[in-house]
């Protein structure tokens, strides 16, 4: 079966203004809206489009995280994923450990393509896809804005600092997606009902043979340096004068 595996992370919704706990021990997540990482929605959308074109037979979404990730997995099933894997753990994993879990899932599911987000918008690490590709000893194509599949290969256009780069990789491969790859579809109500019947399997780290080892500790969370609100000028001439005064013109 030609399968695509999509990695999904549950994150604080991108519209939420996050707050830091007064004791600096973390970010307030209680009572905060949680969503599928926006990049992962794009990854899933791409997988669904590939399947709809007939180039894949099954789309599997997988998440590693605590029990309360299930609503996000259901959302993905409602978008159109065929089944979901929930690797349940209450300890937040570092990207290398997450990559190890995904590596174990590639062994289990044998996908020809793994699609991940280019970064999770909570920790902004941007590591998991590249790490998975290394552990799997397979190619990576990061920051994808276009993915074209042909027999055994993918041609991927990547958004890089200089412009757009195209590379060709043999499959299976890991592709991490950028924002302009596609626009994810909206979930329709009947699909939410249907998604309730789709398979959602719960797995453990032990069953996958992954023993996470923390290599990083986060002793402190702090707000960023604040910028001060400045002055208002009334027209273009005042603006030019203000810039001249600052020596910027």
């Amino acid at each position: 079966m030609k399968r695509i595996l999509v990695g999904i992370k549950r994150v604080v919704d991108y519209n939420v203004r996050i707050r830091i706990k007064p004791d600096g021990s973390g970010v307030v997540t209680e009572g905060v809206k949680m969503s599928v990482n926006p990049f992962d929605e794009i990854a899933l959308e791409e997988a669904l489009r590939i399947k709809e074109r007939g180039a894949a037979e099954e789309v599997i979404v997988a998440t590693v995280g605590p029990a309360d990730c299930q609503p996000q997995l259901r959302t993905c099933l409602a978008m159109g994923a065929d089944r979901a894997l929930h690797v349940q753990t209450d300890t937040p994993l570092e990207p290398l450990a997450t990559a190890r879990v995904l590596r174990a899932l590639t062994e289990r599911e044998q996908p020809f393509l793994v699609l991940l987000g280019k970064q999770a918008i909570d920790d902004d690490n941007g590591q998991t896809g590249q790490m998975l590709a290394a552990l799997w000893e397979r190619p990576q194509a990061t920051f994808a804005s276009k993915v074209e599949l042909s027999e055994g290969k993918a041609r991927v256009t990547r958004e890089i600092d200089a412009g757009l780069e195209t590379i060709e990789v043999d499959l299976p491969a890991v592709v991490t997606v950028d924002l302009r790859l596609n626009e994810p579809r909206y979930v329709k109500l009947p699909d939410i009902m249907k998604a309730k019947k789709k398979p959602l399997e719960t797995l453990t780290l032990e069953a996958l043979g992954v023993t996470p080892r923390a290599q990083l500790k986060t002793p402190r969370y702090a707000p960023p340096a604040q910028r001060h609100k400045g002055v208002r000028v009334k027209d273009a001439a005042e603006l030019v004068a203000a810039l001249k005064q600052k020596g910027l013109l």
């Binding site: 998991t128 590249q130 990061t142 412009g163 590379i167 290599q215 990083l216 000028v233 910027l248």
Partner: protein
């Protein structure tokens, strides 16, 4: 053991990127650092000579192989992993080059990566932004693990030149054949580079078309400024993707940033937090961009920008 740091050079085959000199500046803030720069290239001599001159660099190692004509993470990572043994830290810039490459190296070394290092507290303690820069965390690497890191280039001033580090050649490892470079389309422009420019003029959705964006280019040219854009402007096709500023685009720190018709979403603001002076031009007095602007001007950009052009002359 004193910190032994390997920095992966970013370059285009001829010129060393200024991002590498910023990595050197970051590494140099680690006490007693011994700094080596590795240049993977088809022909490394020119870039190696530039790296050897960067102040703070003690040694340059070159690896020459035709595959390194274009930077492919799949080819560079095993090479760096093969060299990494004696090093306590392996650093690269937080550019798309480094973001692509460094995690692959970290995984080959089975070690942790610290992304977007904005400050060094010690050889094992770093500060980095999360949540689009809305929080800054201090992280500590445990148990003597090798540190792989990307350096947030907007947080460091490039190291100067004047060093004369020795250059040595290392032998290449066999690269994989599963990844092939096809092409790169980089817009040629005489304008200053967005990531290093002292002044940046940036446009948002309000510009409304690629034609109107030309007005910004003209204005920027008068100021000798680079041009940037919000995601909305890039998504709409008014500006190419390499101009996007923000969480998922470029993080910049110019002396002057002029945001024109940009609302100031947090994902955009994270890209400009380190700008010295922010100017905002927006017709909505409540636009969030005004919360961070040093100088704000409420009004219609289609009237104001031509006036500014005239006034500056």
């Amino acid at each position: 053991m004193s910190p032994n740091i390997l920095i992966v050079a970013e370059h285009n085959g001829r010129t060393l990127s200024v991002a590498t000199a910023k990595c050197v500046a970051c590494a140099a803030t680690i006490p007693d650092a011994h700094i080596t720069v590795v240049v993977c290239a088809a022909n490394a001599a020119a870039v190696a000579a530039q790296a050897a001159a960067v102040s703070g660099v003690h040694r340059v190692v070159t690896v020459e192989h035709p595959i390194h004509e274009h930077p492919l993470a799949a080819a560079i990572a095993p090479q760096i992993a093969a060299l990494a043994g004696p090093y306590s830290h392996v650093l690269g810039p937080s550019s798309t080059f480094g973001k692509d490459l460094m995690p692959r190296i970290a995984a080959l070394l089975e070690t942790v990566q610290v992304s977007d290092i904005m400050a060094v507290e010690s050889a094992t303690r770093f500060r980095r932004p999360i949540y689009a820069g809305n929080a800054v965390i201090t992280v500590e690497v445990l148990d003597g693990a090798k540190v792989v890191g990307t350096v947030r280039t907007a947080s460091f001033q490039a190291a100067g030149t004047g060093a004369q580090a020795p250059i040595e050649a290392a032998s290449p490892v066999a690269p994989p054949t599963h990844t092939r470079f096809v092409s790169v389309s980089a817009a040629k422009s005489d304008r200053p580079d967005l990531q290093t420019a002292g002044k940046v003029v940036s446009g948002g959705r309000a510009l409304g078309s690629a034609e109107s964006f030309q007005m910004l280019y003209r204005f920027a040219d008068k100021l000798h400024a680079a041009v940037g854009a919000s995601r909305a402007a890039v998504d709409a096709g008014y500006a190419p993707n390499e101009l996007q500023v923000g969480q998922t685009g470029k993080i910049i720190a110019p002396e002057l940033y002029i945001a024109i018709g940009i609302s100031g979403a947090i994902q955009h603001l994270t890209g400009i937090k380190d700008a010295r002076t922010i100017v905002a031009i927006n017709k909505d007095p409540e636009a969030p961009i005004f919360e961070v602007a040093d100088i704000g001007l409420v009004g219609d950009l289609f009237e104001i920008v031509p006036q500014l052009e005239q006034l500056i002359g």
